[in-house]
Amino acid sequence: MGVELDRRSFLVVAGLLGLTACGSNTGREGSAEGTLRHWYHAYGEDGVQDAVRRYAAAYPDARVEVQWNPGDYDSKIMTALQNSAVPDVFEAQVKVDWVRQRQVVPLGDLLGQTRDDFVRALLDSQTVDGELYGIPQAIDTQVLYYRPSLLEKAGLTPPWTVDELLDAARRLTTDGVRGLFAGNDGGVGVLTAPLLWSAGLDLLSEDGKAPGFDDPRAAEVFGKLRELHRGGGLLLGAPTDWADPGAFVDGLAAMQWTGLWNLPEITEAHGDDVGVLPFPRLDADGAESVPVGAYSAMVNARSADVDAAKAYVKWLWVDKTEYQTEFATAFGAHLPARRSLAERAEPLRDGPGKRIAELVTAGGRIASPARWSARANTALSDAVSRIAREGADPAAELRTALDVARDEIARLDR
């Protein structure tokens, strides 16, 4: 073979490689210049997608394309933020790492006069080093749903302490019905933070500079979860998980820990026979609580037009209060992120909806603080899982989790 042949065959290969490279997604195809791309995760409730597309279409100053993202949305956002200009606007909960890598932009200047109207704790949860990075869209919370008729039949009153909850779970268990459902992992995922709050502790210290569970009472309260597991009153292996009202609606469990968003389905199934409670307190030194979280609207720092993206976020999530109210309350139940809207929202005026709004005001706690990292969370839930499900020594397990949590906190400030 001569030199020329080699060159030609090289060109064929190079051409093919080039084709592969061209295929790489720059995310720019199919959109006109100046279009804003807005991503949402796939809400389970009917109607949300139509509504957010309607809002986007109504924006007067730019064309907005809404993308609905089923599946593992959080991972998709993480990957997109690494090197893509798309999406321009997205919903998420702020992560300290995004701020450190300068992947998101501060939005505090969009609030203006309305700052005091937003629920303070929500703004705090989206704030890193004094800067706000996300405008809260709506509040999600979780509560303990129960059937008053079943409690009455068992001669019980609604549980206000952890011990009463354990007792109720045991005594409400009858043929085919378990006392309590808190997820197929037996509450390790969703009850870890409420258990800490019930003992007067937290994931992080108040200033976020140290773990909040370096205390013997943490071992005590997770020991209670172990008792709950051994008591036999816990539903495990249900066809649906804690976030779905299925187990409670189908009567597999007498009480279920699940989201406010399921309230419409639950009241449809059980009518007036529905009560709601916060997570109970361990004792007089702890407190009742409900976890709150909020997806917030954020702006990608790599957006082709950060100012246009910010203007759109301000229009939708600060100015258009009627959209915000509809978004929060018309599809499944959420609470508006602003107090003035919550007061006027129809579904929260009476019954369990009103009660839940009160619980959030009285004992709402941030479920995933920005400074609480995924690695710290895995270490803690591994520890709680071993304590509650396998009977491991609480003090030793928590020491391991504390080491990881300290390490992660130190990393954030490096």
Binding site: L16, G183, R389
Partner: protein
């Protein structure tokens, strides 16, 4: 001229495949090895070199060591079970005189089923924790108490769910490999053995069939070994949920998935270091098993 055409033809046929292999396999492997030496959180173009820091991290991480340990034990259990059962099935199906194709298909069909679909059926129907689940109904016939199966850690009943799903899904494939090998053993060897007075069952199996299956055995064992360490699909779908994955029966790949791609914090440096370590463990285990087999042969 013909040399020119031959070269062109060669690259036309091999080019697309080679390009794909390069772009989607070799470059990512090299990139991953590169990332493993950097602090690469939420970025694939890191700047902070950390030397062997990521390796030190994963090798002192109890979760990672646990997952490697658990899956060495898992491999030690599931590989012999798979080999023995697949071989037994192959011998049975090979001996039936009627409807052999039917039986072969029946046992092979599960292999065509998606791991994800099978996992969901296992989790939500067969081994559902409610009293009306299939396994619990069957237990009820014999007077047993309903079990939570996937949710029961003490004793670890979740292994029953995971192992039965895996066996159901993959036995048929290994059975076909064995049947193919069985049919290649020349009939005259059996005739000679019988003439020499070997007992038709055990002695012919031990001295004719088994040696004839050497090649297939090595293939099945190696594939199984790699498969055991690469477990992901049924584990992730049966034990994982929206909140993450429990600390037990966590395959190395599930650990690496959550470390490098999970929602909450994508630590690609540590994930890549773990991937390199896992690749070395698999290579080592494969080499060791190959050596042991050769010595046994």
């Amino acid at each position: 001229m013909s040399g020119r055409r031959a070269a062109l033809a060669f690259w036309l046929f091999v080019g697309p495949f080679a390009a794909g292999l390069l772009a989607f396999t070799y470059v990512p492997i090299g990139w991953s090895a590169y990332l493993s030496f950097f602090d690469a959180r939420n970025t694939v173009t890191p700047t902070e070199f950390v030397g062997l820091g990521n390796y030190a991290d994963v090798l002192t991480d109890r979760a990672f060591l646990d997952s490697i340990g658990t899956f060495t034990v898992f491999a030690a259990f599931v590989i012999p079970t798979t080999v023995v059962l697949a071989l037994a099935l192959a011998l049975l199906v090979n001996q039936v005189r009627v409807a052999r194709a039917f039986f072969r298909s029946v046992f092979f069909l599960p292999f065509a089923c998606s791991y994800v679909v099978a996992s969901l059926v296992w989790k939500m129907s067969l081994f559902s924790g409610v009293d009306s689940g299939v396994a619990n109904t069957a237990l009820g016939w014999f007077g047993g108490q309903p079990q939570a199966w996937v949710g029961t850690v003490d004793p670890p009943l979740y292994w029953v769910v995971l192992v039965t799903a895996r066996l159901w899904l993959q036995l048929g494939f290994y059975m076909i490999l064995f049947i193919a090998a069985l049919q290649r053993i020349p009939a005259h060897l059996y005739e000679a053995a019988w003439t020499d007075g070997a007992s038709p069952r055990w002695q012919t199996f031990r001295h004719v069939t088994l040696p004839g299956l050497r090649g297939a055995l090595v293939a099945v064992l190696t594939l199984n070994l790699i498969n055991a360490y690469q477990a992901f699909d049924e584990f992730y779908n049966i034990l994982g949920d929206s909140r993450g994955y429990p600390p037990f029966a966590r395959p190395p790949l599930v650990y690496l998935y959550y470390t490098s791609l999970g929602s909450g914090g994508q630590d690609l440096g540590r994930g890549s270091a773990g991937a390199v370590v896992l690749a070395l463990v698999i290579a080592l285990a494969t080499l060791l098993s190959g050596r042991v087999l050769r010595r046994a042969g």
